[in-house]
């Protein structure tokens, strides 16, 4: 009886919510927009340094949002790795003898790395950019981890922390440098806009990939008693 009552109450709440939201959407749809953002963007696109409007918005016009976003990602990454029970990017439990997965990795991981580089480069004048490239890079790292490829070339402690810190630090440095140079915070100097945007996008890609990979790696809890990071044991 209580369950039915609770269900009915939840349904009522959600119906009221849906109704109110739909009414609000309908009313907003009825009124014309006070300012045409696509028009504003088309006028100022040439000054932004890139040709693709979404990239221009993300990394020039609303770069403050992107800065805060990468900050939030770093915080989430720190919270995640502080609870990690596995200290290594490579999990010996996962080492696979599945020949299909092994073959897939051999073909896919190089392709995905190239694709990530292409997406990063293409972001300046067509759909693409740092976020998509970072996601593909993270996915290739996840694939390597799932296959259990021994990765002795990755020192997980240093690389993870470097990746976590690099994107946010470089972005913040650029922002503060323009403020110190007398212009507004996050205003790029006119001469270097495009190379600066590309540099920031590169470190952002690396950082996003590292954060997502770190969060994926810290999810499993090993049953075996493993020494935690920082333990002398």
């Amino acid at each position: 009886m209580m369950r039915l009552l609770a269900s009915a109450l939840a349904i009522a709440v959600c119906l009221v919510f849906a109704g109110a939201l739909a009414a609000a959407v309908w009313q907003i749809a009825g009124t014309p927009a006070p300012v045409s953002l696509p028009g504003l963007l088309a006028d100022n696109l040439a000054a932004s340094g890139v040709e693709h409007p979404v990239t221009a918005v993300l990394l020039n016009f609303r770069s403050y949002d992107t800065l805060l976003e990468i900050g939030v990602l770093v915080i989430a990454g720190i919270a995640g790795i502080s609870m990690a029970r596995t200290t290594s990017l490579e999990d010996p439990e996962l080492r696979t003898s599945d020949s299909l997965l092994y073959a897939l990795q051999r073909w896919f991981v190089p392709l995905m790395l190239v694709l990530a580089g292409y997406l990063l480069w293409a972001g300046s004048d067509r759909p693409g950019g740092a976020f998509q490239a970072g996601a593909v890079l993270a996915a290739s790292g996840v694939m390597m981890r799932l296959g259990g490829i021994p990765m002795p070339f990755l020192r997980p402690g240093l690389l993870l922390r470097l990746g976590l810190a690099l994107g946010f630090t470089v972005f913040l440095l650029v922002a503060v440098a323009s403020a110190a140079g007398g212009e507004a915070f996050l205003a790029y100097p006119k001469a270097f806009t495009k190379p600066l945007i590309l540099a920031i996008e590169t470190v952002l890609t690396f950082s996003i990939a590292m954060v997502l990979l770190a969060l994926f790696v810290s999810a499993p809890v090993n049953q075996a008693l493993e020494p935690e990071e920082g333990d002398p044991g």
């Binding site: 609770a6 959600c14 959407v25 953002l37 919270a79 954060v211 499993p220 935690e228």
Partner: protein
């Protein structure tokens, strides 16, 4: 009523469906799935409503792009927390008495409480 506005209303429905699932489902992972559905609904409302005249608008698209990346970071952190909670308490829901520790030899006070 353009097709883009149809997507906005679909977003409204998705958001309320996600809200219902979030309130009523007990399993933590299912709550997380419902929460993600709410997020997708909100993104559809943002872009569908802004582009109701059919003209692509880059500003809400950029904001939704940022939102998707933040949402997956939050989801991943939530998965870490859920798995730790499951490992420590033995159950995947929040209500009810904590289960006794089956099969773990570790004490409840964890090593990280040592400074």
């Amino acid at each position: 009523m353009t097709p883009s506005l149809l997507y906005a209303f679909a977003g409204v429905l998705l958001c309320s469906l996600g809200l219902f699932g979030f309130i009523r489902l007990a399993h933590l992972l299912r709550k997380l799935l419902a929460f993600n559905l709410m997020g997708s609904g909100v993104f559809l409302v943002m872009v569908g409503l802004a582009q109701r005249d059919g003209e692509p608008d880059p500003v809400p698209q950029a904001l939704v792009l940022t939102g998707i990346v933040v949402a997956i970071a939050a989801t991943a952190l939530a998965v870490v927390l859920i798995r730790r909670y499951y490992h420590l308490s033995g159950q995947a829901t929040l209500a009810g008495p904590a289960a006794t520790q089956h099969g773990t030899a570790k004490p409840v006070v964890r090593a990280e409480d040592r400074s």
